[in-house]
Amino acid sequence: MEVPMDPLFLAWSYFRRRKFQKCSELCSKILEDSPYDQETDTPSVISEAAWSLKTRTLTEMVYIDEVDVDQEGIAEMMLDESSIAQVARPGTSLRLPGTSQGGGPTPAVRPMTQSGRPITGFVRPSTQSGRPGTMEQAIKTPRTAHTARPVTSASGRFVRLGTASMLTNPEGPFINLSRLNLAKYAQKPNLSKTLFEYIFHHENDVKNALDLAALATEHAQFKDWWWKVQLGKCYYRLGLLREAEKQFRSALNHQEIVDTYLYLAKVYQRLDQPITALNLFKQGLDHFPGEVTLLTGIARIHEEMNNITSATEYYKDVLKQDNTHVEAIACIGSNHFYTDQPEIALRFYRRLLQMGVYNCQLYNNLGLCCFYAQQYDMTLSSFERALSLVANDEELADVWYNLGHVAVGIGDLGLAYQCFKLALANNNDHAEAYNNLAVLELRKGRIEQAKAFLQTASSLAPHMYEPHFNFSTLSDTVGDLQSSYMAAQKSEDAFPEHVDTQQILKNLRQHFAVL
């Protein structure tokens, strides 16, 4: 005869094995048997436990680590009222990366993103597209499903997650927030914490979460650091950064916790005070020596401020603590690649491969490293594997683009032409491919086509200097000096130190001045 297991224990077991759907169903069943009435004062212990477990399950289903997820929305960037100094001193602001301070490679060697920062080795929310200069640019940047920048960070991703959870519960929400007596729950510490997380993460109702947290911290006589951190999180979501800072600081006075340091640093980065954030991280490292997340935070800030050399130092420190840290390995690898040491980059990428990272991007990088480190026998097979692992059109376009580079390298321009065209067929917005295709067209003598491609490239990616410069030289040879001058000026804006642009500008100025 089968002895049935205690359903609550089973649900707990499911929860620990991360089988949330089953756990949720089981909890629902328990609650049906002994309903947990939100109104009565003395509910049974079992139903209370089941209710709490279900809130945790539902939260876990949609949980995202709050520390990492952060992307400034268009509204925060363009309608920023708190910015005071438009031109900050170099090295004190994330908004004005300036030219490389740490002696890193120039844009001629390491491509730039739209924000004027060198391309990174590891894609994070903030590295995706950077800060657009104008409203039009902000709206125009290809906001596709995977590179989308939300309108505000308060809507965007969080609303989407909230609605996604609505879809899974067609009969309506599990807890009716409007009928909840928050004051009552705030007095039950064992329920209030799970309830808070449910409201914050699952329902994404920051206002109610804030109310609950405020009541609860009052009940705890302002002595519980956890509630202060939650209050800070709520304030941060609402954009009340100074209030959030106060809460996090106060929480740190009660108890030193790594997470609190990370949240506080996030606040400072949003306030555009990278130096304060760096100091905070260092303070955190005094209490938690060698903490990987803090070290990574420092490295990221250095990277965003264009100080690649010190970023690499900190990533190396990260690796000393945790030698399987994917972000650190990838960033150091890409730095070596762009500082003319592809053979070392190859080592780092191989390490990633050994760790079980097995995707298109990695093989893509491996192929390029092999090619530039002259290990020709492995180059093309890496690319072949990258092609077979492609997950979407954009990745495919990138692989074709890199193959085009290899083809240019071995002098097979026909093949290169085909590759760049294939890159464009898969990603219509691939500005680099447009640019390279234009150069190939120019070599064939088809000036009109080259011109059209260059114009497209420069409208797709105004931050790249190459299309402007190419257009400038092209117009110069054709004899259209005015267009050449205008394009050269744009190129100078994008990359002021570019010697060839300076040369062409000098020649043109001389042309204009001579009789």
């Binding site: 709206i139 059209a452 409208s459």
Partner: protein, 588 residues
């Protein structure tokens, strides 16, 4: 830190020479060097600053007089001033100079800051053919169209150019012509030139307070010298080009030289008793400033150079400037016997050159547009500058200031001693090259095999893309087209802009249509199929259309755009638009 201290050192160096007497960044003074002068207008021994203010270029032209730091008087000018000089007209006591302002074809003479006399340039000959045509028009013997045709014919061929009236008439729209002719046909035709530059020339004595003649350069390529009292033309000389800058020295009755920089890039030197220029300096670029120092001429050129010439047109030296020249002026300190050229540059600096040596640099807060050095108030060494933003700056030369004759231009650039950061070749690299050397044949074979396989794969993918016209540019020779699409908007309605361009050399493309393929449950479009107009080669045709997003679930999809040719089922080209997620919710 190092740059900061260097900057401070430079500042203190400049401070050791000049006192900042006055700086008003909002003096609302827009002028250039020929329109600014210093003169003792009231005979009280105190020099005033007289400025012909250009205003906005359309209105607010003023003759302004400053005394000390304040504006003393203001007279409205009718037209843009092109030059302003102060000169002594007669021997009467007290010896107060008159002000001559050149604007348009007139010279206005002010005495005691009151209008005194207006001199008008002599009119020029009118083309007899033009005269004839207009007299016919006066008697209504000619209709408007043939009048226009005749005038156009004269404009294209005749040696004597048309009058302003005829030129204005040719610019008019046909319906306005009749009214214009009716208004103007009764008046006689006149052709008038305008003054481009003005200078003064002592009559018969070299003294500081001697009577001077006016020297005028005109658009009709002539130079006139006027009598100071009667304002009659004493002498007329003609030039091969239009004068723009002028410098005069000598005495009219003895011997004089007029140095004129012209619009054709040449500098001509005129002398007494020769109606044609005596010497010519051919520059390699347009002159933008002209200053005479002693017997030499210093010219600032558009090529960012400063060149020195002798009186006879022999080149002495060239100095290269860091930025384009915006203003030039002579610094002539009589009591010290110090002469130098002040050059205002577009990088907010004023350089002081003595011969070809740079002796001092003054940093200014704005770009300087006019420079005047001389006695202001009772102070001998005063430098007055106005800026592009309408500011007025007055600096006084310190008594202790010493200018070294040595060139202060820096020596070899610092960059020479910086070592390049060339990464060292790692041991790993050496090992890999060893491997390459040992297994060269095998590696080559593997690479070649991979390469042929890759070529095949690429060719297959390429053919597939071509057959289904997946690329955003068409490969066909008859319709070489290119398209890219941009999405704008936050949702639920988006604007799609298709940029279509015909990349052929000279052939237009017609009979094209655009159609869209999309998931109808997610998006709706008003017209998913429309024709596009004839495409002229080389132009970009932006075509807008609107898409409505129907879902509020935060899902997005791809919209495909096809460019089709009439009568063909296969598309010419295809573009995929990755739609952004709709942020707003559709109104229901």
């Amino acid at each position: 830190m190092t740059t900061a201290t260097a900057e401070m050192k430079e500042n203190t160096e400049a401070n050791s020479k000049w006192l900042d007497a006055h700086y008003d960044p909002v003096a609302n003074l827009y002028t250039f060097s020929p329109c600014i002068t210093l003169a003792d207008l009231q005979g009280d021994g105190e020099n005033k600053l007289v400025v012909g203010d250009l205003g906005t270029g359309v209105c607010n032209m003023k003759l302004k007089v400053y005394r000390g730091t304040s504006l003393m008087s203001e007279n409205t000018l009718l037209d843009l001033p092109t030059g302003l000089v102060s000169f002594l007209m007669d021997q009467h006591e007290p010896r107060t100079p008159a002000i001559a302002v050149a604007s348009g074809p007139f010279i206005y003479i002010y005495k005691n800051l009151r209008p005194y006399f207006k001199f008008t340039l002599p009119t020029l000959d009118v083309n007899p053919l033009e005269q004839e045509v207009w007299s016919q028009a006066k008697e209504d013997m000619i209709d408007l169209m043939s009048l226009k045709e005749m005038l156009e014919g004269i404009r294209d061929k005749a040696e004597i150019p048309l009058s302003v009236r005829s030129l204005k008439f040719l610019m008019l729209d046909p319906q306005e012509m009749e009214a214009f002719v009716n208004v103007h046909k009764q008046q006689p035709i006149r052709r008038q030139t305008v003054i481009t530059c003005v200078g003064t020339l002592k009559k018969n004595m070299a003294d500081e307070d001697a009577v001077s003649c006016l020297v005028i350069g005109t658009e009709s390529m002539d130079v006139y010298i006027l009598d100071p009292e009667a304002f009659t033309i004493l002498c007329k000389m003609s030039l091969p080009s239009v004068p723009t800058l002028m410098d005069v020295t000598g005495q009219f009755d003895v011997e004089f030289r007029i140095t004129v920089a012209c619009r054709n890039g040449n500098i001509y030197i005129l002398r007494r008793d020769s109606p044609r220029p005596k010497y010519c300096i051919e520059l390699t670029s347009h002159p933008v400033g002209l200053v005479r120092v002693g017997k030499n001429v210093v010219v600032g050129c558009a090529q960012e150079t400063l060149q020195g010439y002798t009186q006879k047109g022999k080149k002495l030296w060239t100095a290269y400037l860091p930025a384009p020249v915006t203003a030039m002026g002579l610094m002539d300190h009589h009591t010290r016997g110090f002469q130098a050229v002040l050059v205002g540059l577009a990088n907010c600096e004023v350089h002081m050159y003595r011969e070809k040596n740079l002796v001092s640099i003054i940093k200014t807060p704005d770009v300087v547009t006019s420079i005047c050095f001389g006695r202001y108030g009772r102070e001998d060494g005063t430098l007055i500058m106005t800026t592009k933003g309408g500011g007025l700056m007055v600096k006084i030369l310190k008594r202790t200031a010493v200018f070294e004759d040595r060139d202060t231009a820096p020596g070899p650039p610092l960059a020479q001693s910086i070592r390049l950061n060339v990464p060292k070749k790692t041991k790993l690299y050496v090992d890999q090259t060893m491997r390459e050397r040992e297994n060269a044949v095998a590696m080559h074979r593997a690479f070649q095999m991979d390469l042929s396989r890759l070529r095949l794969a690429v060719a297959r993918a390429y053919v597939k893309a071509l057959e289904s016209s997946l690329t955003p540019m068409s490969a066909s020779l008859t319709e070489p087209l290119k398209m890219n699409a941009v999405v704008q908007g936050l949702g639920p309605s988006f604007k799609l802009t298709l940029n279509i361009q015909n990349t052929a050399a000279c052939r237009p493309v017609m009979n094209l249509a655009v159609s869209f393929l999309y998931d109808e449950t997610l998006y709706s479009m008003k017209n998913a199929f429309f024709k596009i107009p004839l495409l002229v080669p080389g132009l970009n045709y932006p075509i807008d259309t609107f898409v409505e997003c129907l879902t509020d679930k935060g899902i997005s999809d791809i919209i495909k755009v096809f460019v089709l040719r009439e009568g063909k089922s296969a598309p010419l080209l295809t573009a995929h638009i990755n739609m952004p997620v709709s942020e707003g919710l559709a109104l229901t």
